[in-house]
Structures are given as C-alpha cells and as structure tokens.
Symmetry: C2
Subunit: 240 residues, 2 copies
C-alpha cells in the first residue's frame, strides 16, 4: 500500500518501520516538527513536510499517529475525500475523523513504542472502520504487520485494553524504577535483577500469572515481609 | 563435584538441573516428601531418601534447598564434619549451619524458580562462606552454573537483594494477575498483552526503567487517567 504518516513521534516511527518491513511504500511523513519528520523521511528514503496543507494526496491510507489531544487539531485542517484515514489512539473515537473523508477508522498498536529501540517488537493491532472500504483496508494493513495478532475493536474494547496495558507495563515499570533507585542507594547492582524480570515476563506465556506467583506474600511468610518493610523504611528515611 | 541436595521443591529441582547441566554428580536427593524426592532422583538417575539419617556422607558439598523456616530443623539433625554445607535462603544467616560442619555458607540463586518450567533461566548466584574451603567450593560451584553472574554477598546484601527481587517480580506479577482478572471480566484476551509485557521487561536491558517509562501518568494525561479510574471502578463494583 501507499501510505502517508502524520506524526513523527514514537508511534509514527515504529509503525512506519513495520510498514516498510512489510513492503509498503511511505509516500510522505508530515509533522509539526520539521526535524523529526525529516529524520524519519531520511530513514525511509522518502520526503517530509511540516505543513499539513502540503500533504501528498496520492496515498491509499493516511495514518495519524500523533498525541491523543492533537488528533482534533490535525483533523480540523485535513480534507482527504475518498481516502482511508485512521488514527492510532486507544482512547479516542474514530468519529473525530469523519469530516476528513467518508472512510475512516482506528489502527491501534497495543505495544509500548519507542523510536530509539532498534529491534521491532511484536505489535498486536486493534482496528475498526466506519465502512467496508475502511474496514477492508485497515484490516489488511494490520495483518501485513501483525500477522494473526489482529482484532477488530470498538471504542469500549480499546479503552479497556488501554487500561489493562497501563496496569501491565507502566505500573510494573515504575516498580522497576523504584527498585533501581533502591539498589543505587544500597550499593547493589540493579542489572543483577534483569534475568529475574525477564523470566517473570516470559513465564506467563505458559502459565497464568495467578498460578505463577512466588515470594513471601503468597507463602504468608510474615517474618520476611516485616524484615523487608523495615529495610525499606530505613532506606527511605536515612539514605539520599 | 559430587553433590547431595536436601529438599525437593522448586529451588532444589532447578538448582539440581543446573548442576547436572554443568556436569556435576548428584549423589542423592533428601526430602521429607518421599514422592517429590524420588521424582527428582528418577529425573537425575540417582537415588533418594526421606530420612535425614540416611544421608550419603560421601559428597563434597551439601545444598540445603528447603523453605527458610525449615532450615533450622534440618540443621538440628545433621552432622557432616569436613563437608561444605550451604543453604539457599536470602534472608537466613549462614551461622544457622555452624553445628553441622566447620565449612558452611550460603548459595543464593537470585531467580524465581519453578520446577514445572522446562527451560532453565539464567540464575545469578550470590554466595558466601565462613572459611577458605567453603568460599572456594561455593564460588567454584556458582561459576559452574552462573558463569560471570556470581557475587560474594553477606547477610545484609542478600536481604536487600531479596527486597529488590520481591519488588521487581512479585508485585509486577500480581499486577499481571489483576489485569488478567480484569480482561476476563471485560471479555478481553489477556494473551494479547503478552508482547507488551515481554517488551517492557526486555527494554530495560538497554535503558534504565526511569527513562523507559511511557503511559498517561508520565505524560500528565489526566483526562485518560480519569477515564481509566472510572472504568476500573465500574468493573470492580458491577462485574463478578
């Protein structure tokens, strides 16, 4: 497919790489940030613009991969009659795009996307479309980058997936950050914990996390828990 | 080395497999649970007993891999003069073993160990010994299964490592369990979150978790956070 990507942040960069890897053509990168857009355009051997008015109107599909609260602003100034246009936000209705074209939808990648990571992760895609053309185009595009990890999902399901995603990535990652800080204070090497973290994440491919639980709490080992709380209190109150 | 393993739970099973893989000989498995001991002995083509008094006294090193609060009981009935004896607990002093032998120590595997997992994970080992013989033997044994991930660590460091380990595995795993429950209630497929969980764990090999954070909280996206809280409240109060 011929694709224009609007946005040049993490989602735009990683989705664009996935599209390129799948053999699609990225006709243009459009972003308010001229430098970020031209960097991605250089990587993909294509062109960029920082004017929405200079958008290339020859693509088949337009992916708006910008921050949730910037979608409305992009949509306001965009007219792409006959084209398929989708945003990538979990928490925003596809209806925000309906003034742009008759064929619109959502293309939500359920993954934590960072442009500075070289290895492309698996990315399950949740999509929806308002009509047959949007549905067919977005589903086909999804399958081309996510193979069988493709699900049609409306506003309600996407919002709930996003809640679940925040619980399984942002909160655990915050715990990793707190543990790294604790290790730094206590003179321990946080890197020694990495095999443990990886094993915990990989294990739940085979068994449910409820069954996989280990540690003092599940053993009702109150003595160890009390020791741990005392150590944490000491570290918080006495060490910078 | 010739090794006797006391215990037949998760730590005993996984350490025993690591020892076998490294080419050591397991002379015997000793456990109160005759069936668990004989199962491991069968796997390792060796013998087992459920009587501590029938322990084979010809090994070089004895690994006591039992629950923290069972170590004292094992130690009380054991005499192994001249042998090296170590327990595997983070939170227990090596001195608990000093009536057994002159050469004692700790052999603490910093990993979440489960016997029903086939693939052996990387296991950093934190060891200490009371004298040269115990030190040399336990350090050599550690290097044989953990290569360069081997650190000498006293009571204080081990206890603090254990605190950090609980923070990075048990608490995140509990969040995975809560998310799985939420997905079940809401008709979502928890398995779709697995690539996200794996990516989060792997990413912090390259960048610090503090730098790796994503999500609505780090973006100060209060609108999304409020939507998420409302959805969670609704799910908790209205769905079984």
């Amino acid at each position: 497919m011929e694709i224009v990507i609007i946005g040049a942040g993490n989602a735009a960069a990683v989705l664009g790489r996935k599209f390129k890897t799948a053999g699609h053509h990225i006709l243009q990168v459009v972003s308010r940030s001229a430098s970020a857009a031209s960097e991605l355009a250089y990587e993909w051997n294509t062109v960029s613009t920082n004017y929405l008015s200079a958008i290339n109107t020859n693509a088949e599909v337009y992916i708006i991969a910008v921050a949730d609260d910037a979608i409305a602003e992009v949509a306001k100034d965009l007219k792409l009659p006959g084209k398929v246009v989708a945003h990538t936000a979990a928490s925003v209705s596809m209806d925000i795009l309906k003034a742009i074209t008759k064929h619109y939808g959502v293309f939500y990648p359920l993954q934590s996307l960072r442009k500075d990571i070289k290895d492309l992760p698996d990315i399950p895609v949740f999509w929806e479309g308002n009509d047959d053309k949007a549905k067919k185009t977005l589903e086909t595009l999804a399958h081309s980058i996510a193979e069988e990890k493709v699900t049609e999902a409306g506003d309600d399901a996407r919002l709930k997936l996003h809640v679940a995603a925040v619980i399984v990535i942002n909160f655990p990652n915050h715990l990793y950050a707190l543990a790294e800080e604790y290790c730094r204070k206590e003179g321990l090497d946080f890197k020694q914990l990495l095999p443990l973290i990886e094993e915990t994440a990989i294990r739940i491919k085979d068994i449910s996390p409820a069954q996989a639980q280990t540690g003092p709490a599940i053993r009702h080992d109150d003595e160890t828990i009390q020791k741990h709380i005392a150590l944490l209190k000491d570290s918080i109150t006495t060490k910078a």
